[in-house]
Symmetry: C2
Subunit: 530 residues, 2 copies
């Protein structure tokens, strides 16, 4: 999410989510931190969405909770996905559809839209003109020169804007470290034709549920070899219906069958198109791999094609799925063994084309980790952008553009806002850090009831653990230590519950470190009764 501010008004570009990593256990989604804008929602002129991927639209419902009627600008397919998402959140957004070539005005911001090629239909780049200068934001972009839908990234338009003069250029950095050029999407069609055409058995293809062009190619191959298709998985079924309704996906009549009809067809007459290409544990493919899918049993000789990337961090889950499928006898084709995936983000070679078309005064690599931003900055520099005009900024950094010079001028407080279940923001670093400790070592709880006037225990202290040891007698020694510590404290006349708690925590902590060299959380509870 990027906020542009001019003359007291705000324009927001994209509003996506992050997915949690290992250090964020139990978190479902990560939202942008709205703190800087939440008291200024009336100043927001519009939200512009570059495309419909979750990392660009996923947090929109949470923004709309702050103000429901913000104009939401985007292309047709993007808005269709937003509408479906908002229905789940019981929101009715104020959607404004645009198409490449359109211009819109939002307060002091004049916007122009450019066609962009990416791994989802209808992606846009956005030029924002104000009296402070011209900004061009690519969104997610690549430069497939033979795109399946013929909708090229509008390099000519970027050149025209470059002639006019672009003051600040925000550029996708995802693949800036990768040399060369992304293979055209349509070459995957030939590979799929070869893989599926030769198959004698059932074929299951897993891909992203938003990758309409990839799925179009699977559909085309299925039709060519007289196989019916079944869409499997909630988001796949939903998105492919939207894509068909809006004309982004073309499926011959009668080709799609439901899963029950599929069960009556011979294996070599079927292609299942499924979610779960990232090993998501609840997605259809993972359930098949574990033998837990209600309707689909993986059988010997099934051919499974993962026509998808392997997003870093998902390796373990994906390999678990591949192993599960292999154990059930399926043959699994991945991008390692055949060219069944290409990236949606421009490689270094394409980024050079972009810089040379736009010839920006200032460049600001976006959309990537620090190393990607840095690699992208090197490309900007190689095309002639002076090093001091290249802005490398993290989340929360404020970049000011004055007299054609962009520079970092400050920082607003931003953090990760976590969604866990139904609530937003009540899980933060203290809770996550407790979860990490508990997840590594479990806990030992010590419960002591004392007489409030004498401080003496009125029952045997309870020492119990979870996530600590399978051995039921493991804590016996700790309980004995607690009892003698309590006797000592009582003999010294200590009646303060807090002091007693501190003392037994220390005793048990030392014991567990010496005996086990482990660090469970130690939780004393001292209750004083009359």
């Amino acid at each position: 999410m990027t906020v542009f501010e001019h003359r007291g008004k705000l324009l927001i570009v994209d509003c996506g989510v992050l997915f949690p990593e290992d250090q964020q256990p139990g978190v479902d989604l990560i939202l942008p931190d709205f703190r800087y804008i939440e008291d200024r929602m009336d100043d927001v002129e519009a939200v512009i969405l570059t495309h419909g991927h979750e990392d660009h639209i996923g947090a929109l419902p949470f923004l709309l909770r702050l103000r429901a009627d913000i104009p939401v600008i985007g292309a047709k397919f993007t808005l269709a996905l937003v509408a479906a998402k908002c229905r789940e959140h019981r929101l009715r957004p104020n959607l404004v559809e645009v198409v490449e070539g359109n211009t819109t005005t939002h307060g002091p911001f004049d916007c122009e839209y450019f066609a962009v090629n990416h791994s989802i239909p209808d992606a846009l780049a956005i030029a924002i003109r104000t009296d402070a200068g011209v900004v061009l934001h690519t969104g997610d972009i690549k430069l497939d020169q033979l795109p399946l839908d013929g909708r090229l990234t509008d390099l000519a338009g970027f050149s025209r804007l470059g002639d006019e003069g672009v003051d600040l250029f925000l550029v996708d950095s995802t693949n800036a470290e990768v040399p060369g050029f992304v293979t055209p999407e349509r070459e995957i069609g030939g590979v799929l034709d070869n893989v599926i055409g030769k198959a004698k058995q059932r074929v299951i293809v897993a891909s992203f549920a938003s990758h309409v062009h990839r799925i179009q190619q699977v559909v085309d191959v299925a039709a060519r070899y007289n196989r019916r298709i079944v869409f499997v998985g909630r988001s796949m079924v939903r998105n492919m219906q939207i894509a068909q309704d809006l004309g982004y996906l073309t499926v011959p009549d009668g080709l799609v069958v439901d899963i029950d009809t599929a069960a009556t067809l011979p294996d070599d007459r079927l292609v299942l198109i499924s979610t779960g290409s990232q090993g998501e544990p609840l997605a259809a493919l993972s359930r098949m791999a574990r033998g837990e899918h209600r309707q689909i049993n993986i059988r010997a000789n099934d051919l499974v094609v993962l026509a998808s990337s392997l997003i870093p961090g998902n390796e373990n889950s994906v390999f678990a799925v591949v192993n599960g499928l292999a154990k059930r006898g399926a043959t699994v084709v991945t991008q390692q063994s055949a060219k069944v995936h290409v990236s949606g983000h421009a490689s270094a070679g394409e980024l050079l084309y972009l810089y040379n078309a736009v010839r920006p005064t200032n460049a600001m690599p976006v959309h990537g980790e620090w190393r990607h931003l840095r690699a992208n900055a090197a490309l900007a520099k190689a095309t002639g952008v002076p090093e001091e005009r290249i802005v490398l900024a993290e989340d929360g950094v404020v970049v000011d553009m004055v007299d054609g010079l962009a520079e970092i001028v400050g920082r607003v407080p931003v953090g990760h806002v976590y969604v866990d279940g139904l609530s937003v923001g009540d899980v933060g670093e203290p809770t996550l850090s407790d979860r990490l400790v508990l997840g590594e070592g479990g806990f030992i709880a010590i419960t002591i009831v004392i007489n409030e006037s004498t401080g003496r225990a009125v029952s045997t202290p309870e020492v119990s653990g979870r996530g600590f040891s399978d051995d039921p007698t493991a804590l016996k020694a700790a309980a004995d230590l607690v009892e003698s510590d309590l006797a000592r404290l009582a003999s010294e006349g200590v009646i303060d519950a807090h002091r007693i708690a501190q003392s037994v925590r220390r005793v048990v902590g030392r014991w567990v470190a010496d005996k086990y060299r482990r660090r469970p959380m130690i939780i004393p509870t001292v209750i004083a009764v009359p």
Copy 2:
């Protein structure tokens, strides 16, 4: 770890550890399950070690705890690493050094050793002859035809053994899915020469501390460009000392300096060779990336080379290190951007050479996940091993060889044995499953003190949580619900502590599911006092 059994006697090949995955939180190491042999330790004739990697020798000290005087057979470098490991465990193993071409006899097992090329010096394959037939076990293997030390995998020896007749062939499967051939190790030398030779700044190379040949190449390049070297990280320092002492690593006099001397030298006169190539949080490179290394501060323009693989599952940690280094201004070269790593395991093309040399009656792919075993089986089949003579077996499976036919005849109980801190085996699935629940959602503890004869609470129930929410008032509503539930139970005359605990657990569980849609562990403690 593989156990061969004949005429009541046991021969063990390798005794390694696994490293824990996400689903095994808090676990330090995973040992083989010794249950099948632990009551028969006197029948063990010997342990033979194919090479010195942790996944082949790491569990040996735990096996020697069961019987300290088992003969441990291996090549010189392997045994040097074993000896160092055993010293840390205060064990004095009974080591028997062999060299390729040697034969040894252990009860009914006649063993012969063959030179094998891998990513550590001195790897061996082992032929085991008994009156039941001949078994050949490759250990970890590749077929570099121009190895740095000139020590080729003994394909000629394998062919001779094949002429004699190999009944069962156990073959490394790690790279069976990868087509073609592994690039020779020495080609990395040229790449390192180019990368380090052109560098104007300090260079830090991270690699495996056991990969002597990789480090030899770094040393050679450093010497060529008049740079001193510093070994950084405990295992790097230890192993390189061993390698130099035994003649596996050749370092010109005076080239190695210590870290304090290094601090006095110009940046372009230095190469640091460090551990931490897998992003291990406590290793030297990770500490540098976080700015926590006591002696080494990463500076702008430092060049860091990760001359190592990226082991699946370590991506997040490695990328975090790369990002940390990049943020501090270092340039990071990885195998993605330059050919600074080759695998230690034979690709499919090399495996075909092995099968064709050995021509085994029965083949048994080992060392890999199921999908790798399966890919290796396909290669065996392609070279003419009949499908019914290819054994695909998991841990614990018993393979019997009778009359030249190997087949699966049963299964012995095996599981993962976890080491957590000082203790072995007391952390098992119940504890891990508790850790996973606690790590995802934390816990809510409810502590209630009742009068043992009336069942009435004698103080306000305590409801507290850890890892649940940052909001200190989050559990107030739950405490109210517990109070009213206790009142209801008391009015119904319930005095049984267990029933009271069950009831409040249900009440709080329902509340947290409705209000938060989360699943913390809910832990009621009811203490009855007089």
